[in-house]
Amino acid sequence: MAMMVIRRLASALVVMWGAASLIFVVIRLAPGGPAVVLLGPDADPEAVAELTARLGLDRSLPEQYLTYLLDVVRLDFGESYRLDMPAMEAVLNRLPASIELAATAAVIAVCAGLALGLLAGYRRGGALDRITSTLTIGLQAFPTFWVGIMLILTFSLVLRLLPSSGVGTPAHMVLPAVTLSLPFTAIVARLTRSSVVEELEEPYAGTARAKGLTDRQVLLGHALRNSLIPVLTVVTLQFGALIGGAVVVENVFAWPGLGSLIVSAVAGRDYAVVQAAALTIAGVIVLLNLVADLLNARLDPRIRLGNA
């Protein structure tokens, strides 16, 4: 187990290094250097040269790359020129709101998805199964930004039940979290269904039935527990996609999270914030993948002993 943890940690570090390099390449390839963006297109060429030197952009690329990597390790991405504060601080200010939203959406998705998946898997091929499978395809096809707007229209403007944007009360959380959770509900439901179907065909399920347990007891007492392993893993892995989806949803509901920060930073060419935010999200995802791996190994001895 210890060996496995070390190996996974090492590969997580390699992936993180790759992610940092990718962002470096993208930012360097983008047209219009930071100096031009900061000073505007009409700036004095001398001022541009001076700022370029101060930002270290006149040095050779390998040199820039090395200093960049060192900065990344120290979590120092420089100042945000638009927000007048260290980029990392701006990101950390926004991170809790994003995590709060994504976590709430994940809880909704898991509860609803498990329920739907159990209902569908319980009677495979039955009417409920067919309804659920159509429903999940529909849920995954919803453009979240449009669903968000339609929910605002229905619940905020017509029924006047919930606030349409902003933060503060739990009521502010309802619409964004539900919107964000829809495609993930579908994913969890599909997975739970196939997992339950698979478990119900295992010999132990037959044994349990032979002992006289009802179908429902077999399902909830035996199959559900084993089905939870893949569901748990996928939910952990999908949390990254959830944060990605939050980028769009946050912009619909004016939710003050990382997503709205990134979009405004990209629009304003605030390179420091773009780098800090993108790498923070990548870091969270790498961490979650690691957790999913270890969780899986912990819960399923076959994985631990098999290919650790």
């Binding site: 993208v26 495979r124 196939s194 979009v263 060419r269 999200i281």
Partner: protein, 294 residues
């Protein structure tokens, strides 16, 4: 991973009975309808996305305007919503077709080569994919599309950066299982060049799952493109697109709900139909490609 996948494939085969015909023909009909509208619609409609007939602004669906009846209403600048949907269909389908074709070609080639060669090239490919997947696809698309020059090529590129990875994975896995078969070994022993082995003996088996994957990716790319234009990133405002129209309508939600509602529904209907089509294809071609669910 591949073990779980082949198990899943077996399950799909078991669980699906004889595919029903309507389940294939209805989504196919809807998707063909979209293609027809996207290709022919702009030829029949005299619509100018840049013109702003403000005299007809915010008209309800069905009202008469200077340019005829606005069946789906007009937006805040007096532009016809129905016409924007038709032009948006063109933008959406064009971008998705190019991006998915590009991604499929790149992914298939890289994946098959890595699978066939094995060794370090396989490791490098897997690592590159791992790195790309540490960013949620939307995020990378936003960063690339937002920082590079606005326009269609940028959007296609930004969407393809992550879209090729599932193709590569599928192509690699199929290639790995094919390359141990007798006919491949026979060809190798006879001295057939590696490239010819790839094209004649491996790719024909890679193609069916790639086709299934392409339909599913198509739906995701359409959604991602709409998301980008909703955020105002990527396409210039002069190019009509569904995401942009939905975003424009948000401001007038209280008074003119139709601006956001109809283009979004058009988008939803297309994505659902493509998704159903993909499901049918995967049932028929006998391969479960839904394992990548996001």
């Amino acid at each position: 991973m591949s073990g779980a996948m082949s198990e899943a494939i077996g399950l799909v085969r078991l669980r699906r009975g004889r595919p029903r015909r309507t389940a294939l023909w209805i989504p196919l009909g809807i998707v063909s309808g979209y293609v027809l509208v996207a290709v022919l619609g702009p030829l029949l409609l005299g619509y100018d996305h840049v013109a702003t007939p403000v005299g007809d602004r915010l008209r309800a669906p069905g009202s008469a305007t200077a340019n005829g009846t606005a069946w789906l209403g007009t937006d805040g600048l007096g532009r016809d919503v129905a016409a924007q949907i038709v032009y948006g269909a063109r933008t959406s389908l064009l971008i998705a077709t190019v991006a998915v074709t590009l991604s499929a070609l790149v992914g298939m080639t890289v994946g098959a080569l890595a699978g066939l060669a094995g060794g370090w090239s396989d490791v490098v490919m897997s690592r590159v994919i791992d790195v790309l997947l540490t960013f949620p696809g939307v995020l990378l698309a936003i960063v690339v599309a937002g920082l590079f020059a606005r326009g269609l090529p940028t959007v296609v590129l930004s969407l393809s950066i992550t879209a090729w990875t599932p193709f590569a994975r599928v192509a690699r896995n199929v290639t790995l299982s094919i390359k141990e078969r007798e006919w491949v070994s026979a060809a190798r022993l006879m001295g057939v060049p590696r490239l010819v082995i790839l094209v004649r003996h491996v790719l024909p088996f890679v193609l069916p799952p790639i086709v299934v994957m392409a339909t599913l990716e198509f739906a995701l790319v359409v959604l991602a493109e709409a998301g980008l234009s909703f955020l105002g990133i990527g396409l210039p405002p002069s190019t009509p697109s569904w995401g942009q129209t939905v975003a424009n309508g948000k401001e007038y939600l209280a008074t003119a709900w139709w601006i956001s509602a109809f283009p979004g529904f058009a988008l939803f209907l297309l994505v659902v139909s493509v998704g159903l089509l993909g499901d049918q294809l995967s049932a028929r071609l006998g391969r479960n490609s839904r394992s990548r669910t996001s």
